[in-house]
Symmetry: C2
Subunit: 376 residues, 2 copies
């Protein structure tokens, strides 16, 4: 089978001066990975990191594409799931990369979802104080979000993503065809981040999603279009604020609540995956904004309706297994990295596509809001 | 007892644009740490990391100086020694810092030698993707070398310092008085790095050291002078080449051999400490340069004589416990981070104070040179 017309392929450039890079988006990119990498990073050797779900599906095709282009490679397969973003696995990856004698001019590749991308990017950022890095995101979430922007990291027992570095990739290859093997649940979770870009500052994109989401789920042009629009949105924010000192915080819409829910469910993906936490978090952020008289409750209802249509959870009681008391959620929120000198920083909204950074949100308001929403 | 006149205090500025910082050098700086830090980092909280040798001597004075300045602090004491630069202890420090709720505006402090500085700086560089960092170096080596320049890291089973980040401190406080409790052996080891700056490109400084080394060892003005000159030398190189792409490699004079010897002795400080490896390595680099007809053998003899006067080891047979075969040393040299695409990069010299980067040194020459020098 030949790969679909590369005419459908899109390129988004992340503009970061010397560290600028391309995101290639389209079907068949795993099959042409060797050629794309070989054309850009001459004579490099490669260490591929992937997980046990992705390996049986795409490791062989990826490695043979490299081999066809004359690129030497070694690979490391890790367990799948959020718990893999740990010090233990970071050490495993660093050891594997060093053991393979990957030098500064060579490259480390993340072939997988956001977990593999975050962990591998962190390892690439610290091995020899920074090695070249290529993202080959295979989940929708990784394609539209985690593979773009250079944030890498692992989790700590004190919270998610608290340990890491900024380390930009040299290239991102987003093969939209591989999303067909992603479970519907994971696809939906990634879709939450797509919707997020509309909710941040693209009301027309959100309206387009309300109409076209079924086409995105089934594949083809609409999917490529949605991914490219999302990558462009993230690339714009990253280019304007690489180190997350201001603007970039908007990308955290829904994430403060979302991270607290992930912590409360102990990162157990059987109960909640990242994108699901974000979906609930975005609905909560819109509801909280309405409660603070910043936005109309109709907007919150519209967000809730769309995410529900798609099949995403939209409230805390949708999480199986129950939640700890509200006080525990507040703890997690206060430890979240978006807290500055004690005050709570949240992304709130004035309506669909009108999000903003509110850095003086009273903890007491959040607490009483959560008490209302919390399932008994 | 009042601290000696602060008139003796020197300041060296490391010029790195937005990330510029001061190195304060002189006696009594631990006693005035609270005031110095408080004046620069308003309202910050502090997590101090130190080791079990330094803690009983200086942790209390340091903490009370902070308390006097109204600065809240927590502390973490680790085992002393090179083996502490491990993933395990990195995790301990990250956990302690996060557990103390140190946020981006707060600061992590390394109170100790190069081991504590490298490990703690690395932790500061990855906690919340970068926290503020203060170096309070207490060994001579740390004061003249490791605390300046932002290189941080840990060791891997594949080699020394292979994992880390560049993370510049916000301030360095080098209290020259604390060096009086350093063991003579550790003082000498640090002195090897002082001599290195002369050998790189300061022949007059090397000649001054040949005359004045006894005064440096006994303390007072000559010591402050030697430390300030060393810091200035390192600051100049770092400012010109922060990320070690060229010039900065000169700082590795003696280090390729030195690291191989450290690996060969399994980082067992009973047998060899870093500065001793560097001393032997610098003698070897001068001898090898003479063998390659780049420099006069007289220069190699002069370097050997001075380091020997001071009490440093100057040849491989001075290392107790024997060494592995030459081939094992070559392995370590080839895995060392200064190898580019298979060729060997060494710092060689044309004479005292005339070092240069040679990036095409034939491995075969190094091998036969080592065979000659290697103790049977
Ligand atoms: N760095 C960033 O900027 C950033 C942004 C957002 C999220 N994240 C992180 O991303 C992570 C979540 O990413 P994720 O949702 O991709 O999780 P994931 O990596 O766990 O992938 C989800 C699941 O799908 C499987 N999978 C991936 N691709 C597949 C394919 N093509 N076919 C079949 N199965 C496939 C994986 O094995 C896994 O079981 C979280 O850790 C989150 O913190 C990071
Ligand atoms: N980051 C860099 O640029 C850089 C440069 C050079 C060396 N290094 C690293 O530095 C490390 C060596 O540093 P080091 O020689 O300071 O080792 P160290 O930190 O192990 O200190 C040496 C010994 O002296 C003790 N000590 C420290 N200060 C003391 C004091 N005032 N009184 C009594 N005892 C004291 C320590 O507890 C330790 O036992 C190596 O790991 C090396 O790789 C890093
Ligand atoms: Zn997200
Ligand atoms: Zn050194």
């Amino acid at each position: 089978m030949t790969s679909p017309a590369s005419a459908a392929r899109r390129t988004v450039r992340v503009d970061l001066g010397e560290r600028s890079y391309d995101i290639l988006i389209g079907p068949g990119l795993i099959a042409s990975a060797g050629a794309e990498i070989g054309a850009r990073l001459k004579g490099c050797r490669i260490a591929v990191v992937t997980d046990e779900h992705v390996a049986p599906l795409y490791l062989e095709p990826f490695l043979s594409s490299l081999a066809d282009a004359g690129i030497e490679a070694v690979s490391q397969v890790l367990p799948a799931g959020e718990k893999t973003k740990s010090f233990e696995h970071l050490m495993t990856v660093c050891d594997a990369v060093l053991g393979a004698r990957i030098e500064r001019g060579d490259a480390v590749v993340a072939l997988g979802g956001g977990v593999i991308g975050d962990l591998t990017g962190f390892a690439a950022g610290i091995v020899r104080r920074g090695s070249r890095f290529i993202q080959v995101p295979t989940s929708l979430l990784a394609q539209v979000d985690s593979s773009v922007g250079g944030k890498t990291g692992i989790n700590s027992r004190h919270g998610k993503n608290l340990i890491g570095v900024f380390h930009q990739p040299d290239l991102v290859l987003a093969d939209t065809g591989v999303l067909d093997t992603l479970s519907p649940r994971e696809f939906r979770a990634g879709y939450a981040e797509v919707a997020k870009y509309g909710l941040i500052d693209k009301p027309d994109f959100f309206a387009w999603l309300e109409k076209n989401w079924r086409d995105i789920f089934s594949g083809g042009e609409a999917r490529i279009e949605a991914i490219a629009t999302s990558c462009q949105a993230k690339a714009d924010v990253v280019a304007a604020d690489e180190r997350e000192t201001g603007l970039r915080a908007l990308l955290n819409l829904g994430h403060t609540f979302g991270h607290a829910l992930e912590a409360a469910t102990e990162y157990d993906s059987a109960r909640l995956v990242h994108g699901e936490g974000v979906a609930i978090g975005m609905v909560l952020a819109h509801q909280f904004s309405a409660r603070m008289n910043l936005a109309s409750p109709d907007d919150a209802r519209r967000v809730e309706a769309h995410l529900k249509d798609v099949g995403l959870p939209v409230s805390m009681d949708a999480i199986p297994g129950g939640l700890p008391p509200v006080e525990v959620l507040m703890e997690a929120i206060a430890q979240d990295k978006k807290v500055k000198s004690g005050r709570l920083t949240f992304i709130l909204t004035r309506g669909i596509g009108q999000s903003f950074v509110a850095d003086d949100v009273p903890a007491s308001e959040v607490l009483s809001f959560l008490k209302e929403k919390h399932p008994r």
